[in-house]
Amino acid sequence: MLIKKPADLLYSEVTPKSLYFNRRQLLAGVPAAFLAGSELLSPTRRALANTKLNAAKSPFSTTEKVTPEDAVTHYNNYYEFGTGKEEPAELTKRYKIPAQWIVSVEGDVAKPRKYSVDDLMKLAPLEERIYRHRCVERWSIVVPWIGFSLSNLLKQVEPTSDAKFVAFETLYDSKQMLSPREAGIPLPYVEGLRLDEAMHPLALLCFGMYGETLPMQDGAPVRMVLPWKYGFKSIKSIVKIKLVKSQPPATWNEYAANEYGFYSNVNPNRDHPRWSQKKENRLGEFGLRNTLMFNGYNEVASLYNGMDLLRYY
């Protein structure tokens, strides 16, 4: 009888770091073991527990100095968990993530599919990509993200010829998150890209950072990272990816179209109405740097040939 060799170690079978480090405590008390046991039941919850991820190096990485992890994980814009920069790190501690996180990929595609995070992560080999990340608020960071090009997923679902844009949606749980009124923006958070932008190899479907799975405040379990656009375009905690015919709504653009354009490419020549975008403060530095067109990612320039980027900001 042929004994089937088990598949490679599943991501969901990796012991979360927090459990690993607490293994003595697990033995010490039955109640603690009981609590941890309930955590073991849910792959998504486990995915969030700072699990180590192995990723190959990427030629897209910058050699610039990486921003300390502690700064990146305690300085977040995630309005569902508070509008202050340090609130998301605090409020996500109490957050109960759905036991089974599903990302629905749908719309104008030949093969729509609902993916678990485990399934998604197996679509392509993970890469570590050290990207510059420029916020529309004039600060920037350098982060070692882990993931692979979104194109890997889009190719699998086979967009039809009607598909021109990609719409993304973040999970929204009104019981555990701020109301749209408190956050001041419509929720759930939505974002969009033109299909050719989404297919660009730099567009990263991201599962981790700093060698581990994403912390909740940084968009666990899966987010986008678009290094040539202002940070708010890189939507967090994705539950839906829909291919559509016409330009989909984007949260900040809906909120104030004159301040936040649909494209929102990093552009030092187009000021935000309330502040200049010519310079930026790299967190950890005392001083300003010049902001670069497309945040220095000139390989995306051809996507916008012939477009007036002051008009389509």
């Binding site: 300085y75 509008t83 956050a183």
Partner: protein
């Protein structure tokens, strides 16, 4: 209140006024200025400027409605502390936000309305700080001094508008401060209507006296 009590209570209020600065220093010493210290210090000093302006404007309503005349002795100090934090806020803008880049700052003041209105509010505080001494009260005369110092009402409104225009979407705090300013200025409007009928008490300007203004 005896002279001695007043002196000691003023020392206490002085130390209270410095408390936010010490707290900031303590946080800096412990490395707790968030991942973006430049922004944190800018917002912190701005917050305290606005809070102290509102506190200084609360003194008269409290003094009159609770019949606590002694509160007047602390008003000048609170106002000067508001100016002090306003200066710190201005310095952080010039230094930490723009690193002395003059063209950018001039463009900001001209083009960005939240900077324009914030800068205007700050500039209006300068003559008030200068004329806060007993000598200046005497030189200007109580009535004119009072009229000049009503500029702080404009600064309070500028401060709230500055904050309101600055936030991205969560307007809860600026609205809260706006409400407080509305209350303390609204109180003056109501109270003035009720008192103008009565003859005003003559104002004697002694060396240590501060005019009784609403």
């Amino acid at each position: 209140m005896t002279r001695k009590q007043r002196r000691w209570s003023k020392v206490l209020v002085f130390l209270l006024g410095l408390a936010p600065l010490f707290w900031l220093g303590w946080r800096a010493y412990n490395g707790r200025l968030t991942a973006n210290p430049l922004e944190f210090v800018t917002h912190y000093t701005g917050d305290w400027t606005l809070r102290l302006i509102i506190i200084s404007l609360t003194i008269t309503p409290l003094r009159k409605s609770l019949n606590l005349p002694d509160l007047i002795h602390y008003r000048r100090m609170v106002g000067l502390f508001a100016f002090f934090y306003g200066c710190l806020h201005f310095v952080t803008y010039v230094w930490f936000v723009n690193f002395f880049d003059l063209p950018t700052m001039l463009e900001d003041v001209a083009k960005r309305r939240y900077i324009t209105v914030g800068f205007a509010g700050f500039v209006l505080l300068i003559p008030l700080a200068v004329t806060s001494t007993a000598g200046w009260i005497r030189r200007l005369g109580g009535k004119r001094w009072q009229r000049l110092h009503r500029l702080v009402y404009v600064t309070a409104v500028c401060g709230v508008v500055h904050y309101f225009w600055l936030v991205k979407s969560d307007i809860r705090l600026p609205v809260f401060y706006g409400l407080l300013v509305t209350i303390v200025l609204g109180w003056r409007l109501v109270f003035r209507r009720r008192t103008t009928a009565r003859p005003s008490t003559p104002l004697s300007v002694r060396k240590s006296a501060e005019p009784v203004v609403q």
